[in-house]
Subunit: 447 residues, 2 copies
């Protein structure tokens, strides 16, 4: 016998078995419905691009993690490592075809050869939504509103979206004569939740001295209601300015829409990247703050700078699907299901496979997903298989189908959870019954 | 100024702009709903795998086309070039977790560094559905039924699914003492539609001599009704045998289900691959036979042979999404749309952005996707933008929203196609109106 190849996947890569894939797709469908409801449109870009396009002027952390190689035509290519760079290239390339402001979402795989510790994967799905070509408060507010609606639709439970403004922070640093060190300061502040107040103080003191370090830490620790916090931040930034005004406007918009409760102002939010220039935000689940932000982003000045001289401002956010799924699983917020089928047609006579499909078609046409079994094993074995597949109801056909269609039957429905058979029904009656239990509030636990 | 990078994609790769991506997603959603209705479950596998896994014993055409490289850890890896090999690895790896028969679908990108002529791409989406772990006629029939239902759901128009049986063909070759040359014969017959009768005759004559070549060509040209054709094929194969019986059984099943009309028996269908051992099938659109098969597949004996000693039989099919989209576009069967939004909220006062979102939320909650505009440009420009975005209706808010929610308004709806404003309505009335035009049969052209 020849040598078998051991079936295995690469480290950091995953198979999705049906229950996990159904969960992932259900979650994506929910957030996608929200994006579409706002008029956001989907796009897609190639997984593989010229390395020069993806890495730009290159260097840095990213480059080390990128899957990069020469293709058989000798081209220097790489797998995309995020959806932002391809979006910038896409916009520069198709600029004339995109009505501005352009609102798009993009849900797709990306690849990074990262360290695979701590639940990090080398292949994962990003879910980005951005509005470009407008630099107004209404665009900022819309992205924030979509975050709220999408997380609600996902069943994420109570959460808080924390907001800050990069410009305001820079103004504050200017009052300290420390704006030139903003990258280092942002990096230090970003570590607050991990290394604590003293750790950040120490880092900052090394850069700017004890006094300014203390000022910065007190600034980012400002707590309180939105108005109070904003007043303190405005004062620390040297008085009224356009960035503070933007936050005030946003506050008004969110209140007018009636969604202000989930938003807070938090001067400690910085979002590490240099990229952002306006508002920045992240989202913690109230019940699971430890897993980190499940939805983050901000406003940027110049999306396509590498590829075009037209400066396009935008605001965007990204849902961390893997984290969100982990959170939903931890909180029991998403019932796992192994199949979409609600009904299994038991095989009584293998010669009647065609009739069983005819019966199943009638249920499917009524929106009841129906799997047909092929082998005339004992009813008990077939019930067990249906249960193993996660199907709630079984149908035992006791008659045939009148030639030429019409009603088939009679049939017997078995409740596989209660392990109980019902009385003989016509197919029409069985459909009415299954619809009634589906609509009944008591059956929600089966959703 | 620094040097700009030219934004471009690799040859053979594509961006999907919103209209194309919406079309693709709509099509996928339609066929996916059919798969789910039959109890088929989705899975996913990594884009990148060990080259050894994907290429097996290697060699041949495939290997040349594969994107293969060493990752930064020195592993010999490759991008998947189909969904069949990863499925085989998946089944071998997770065998104990999969209830048999296992019915799965997998819709995902694959990569092949092929010649990019003739509309072939180096990155494309495959859409496979298979049932493994059962070798009965009912499983064959179910795959065929799903093909019919999925193509109907896709709006593919009239089509014919052509069926043959590899085993029966082999039996026929045995009567000619030519079974040992079946690969060459299959390859030649597969070219019938491209090189014509004489071309195939010449190829076959070179392999087997004029007389046997003539016999084979007459065999594959057998025309007529199912029963007549099957009788002729059975006789040519030396009389009754299990493969002919399978085709007879299948015929009965499809008739019992009431879907026999779209199926024909066609001895010329071979499906080039060695892989298939039972039924094989392909689908031509009646109106566009020239684009080739839009859905093809067959039964195979031993899916996981490279990775496991357990022989798993299965039957599966694959929808050619790119071809199907091309066909739908050619036949006008799929109306292009640029957005999911049905309504645009015109911006009258930029300070009221929060209220506009409040109004939009009410429409969204009623299932009417609503895009909010941010800038208080002239109404005419905003109407033009809405039209450019493919939105049918515009809403001009003339009032505000009562504090604390409830009804907002009044509003004016504008029919952007007819370029006509309606009378002032409450938000409730506007929702009722939009729902009524959506449900009206006359509005189907806007679907």
């Amino acid at each position: 016998m020849f040598h078998l190849i051991e079936p295995r996947v690469l480290k950091g890569f995953r198979d999705f078995l049906p229950a996990a894939e159904i969960e992932r797709r259900d979650l994506i469908a929910r957030v996608e419905a929200v994006f579409r409801g706002f008029g956001f449109v989907p796009i897609d870009t190639p997984a593989l691009e010229y390395a020069e396009i993806l890495l730009g002027k290159g260097g840095g952390e990213t480059e080390k993690q990128v899957y990069r190689f020469n293709d058989s035509g000798g081209r220097d290519v790489a797998l995309r490592f995020d959806l932002t760079v391809p979006f910038a290239r896409f916009v520069a390339e198709h600029r004339s075809l995109l009505p501005m402001p352009f609102k798009r979402y993009h849900i797709a795989r990306v690849w990074r050869g990262e360290n695979t510790q701590r639940g990090r994967y080398r292949e994962f799905t990003q879910c980005d939504f951005d509005c470009i070509g407008s630099n107004c408060a209404a665009a900022d507010a819309e992205i924030l509103l979509i975050m709220k609606e999408a997380l609600d639709a996902a069943g994420a439970g109570p959460f808080t979206i924390r907001l800050n403004h990069r410009g305001l922070f820079t103004r504050f640093l200017q009052t300290l004569d420390a704006a030139g060190r903003s990258v280092e300061v942002l990096r230090a502040v970003d570590k607050l939740s991990r290394i604590g107040r003293d750790g950040v103080l120490e880092l900052l003191a090394g850069e700017l001295g004890d006094k300014r370090a203390e000022r910065i830490v007190s600034y980012v620790e400002t707590k309180g209601g939105w108005d109070e916090t904003l007043d303190a931040m405005t004062e620390a930034a040297g008085g009224d300015n356009p960035d503070a005004l933007r936050l005030r406007e946003l506050r008004g918009f969110l209140r007018d829409t009636g969604v202000q409760d989930v938003f807070t102002l938090d001067p400690a939010i910085t979002r590490g990247l240099d990229y952002y220039t306006g508002i920045v935000f992240e989202t913690l689940l109230d019940g699971l703050p430890g897993i980190g932000s499940v939805c983050s982003g901000g406003r940027y000045d110049d999306l396509c700078g590498l590829y075009s001289r037209e400066a396009l401002s935008g605001v965007g956010s990204s849902i961390g699907l893997d984290r969100l799924i982990a959170a939903l699983e931890a909180s029991g917020g998403m019932a796992k299901r192994e199949t979409y089928a609600e009904l299994a047609v038991v095989c009584v006579d293998e010669g009647k496979g065609g009739l069983y499909q005819r019966i199943a078609r009638i249920f499917r046409a009524e929106g009841i997903a129906t799997e047909v079994f092929f082998e005339a094993k004992k009813h008990g074995s077939q019930f067990a298989l249906a249960e193993k597949k996660g199907i709630r109801w079984a149908l035992v056909p006791s008659g045939g189908c009148a030639d030429g269609g019409g009603d088939c039957g009679p049939v017997v429905l078995r409740d596989l959870a209660a392990r109980r058979n019902g009385v003989e029904l016509s197919v029409k009656e069985a459909i009415a019954f299954l619809k009634s239990v589906k609509d009944a509030p008591l059956s929600e636990d089966r959703a």
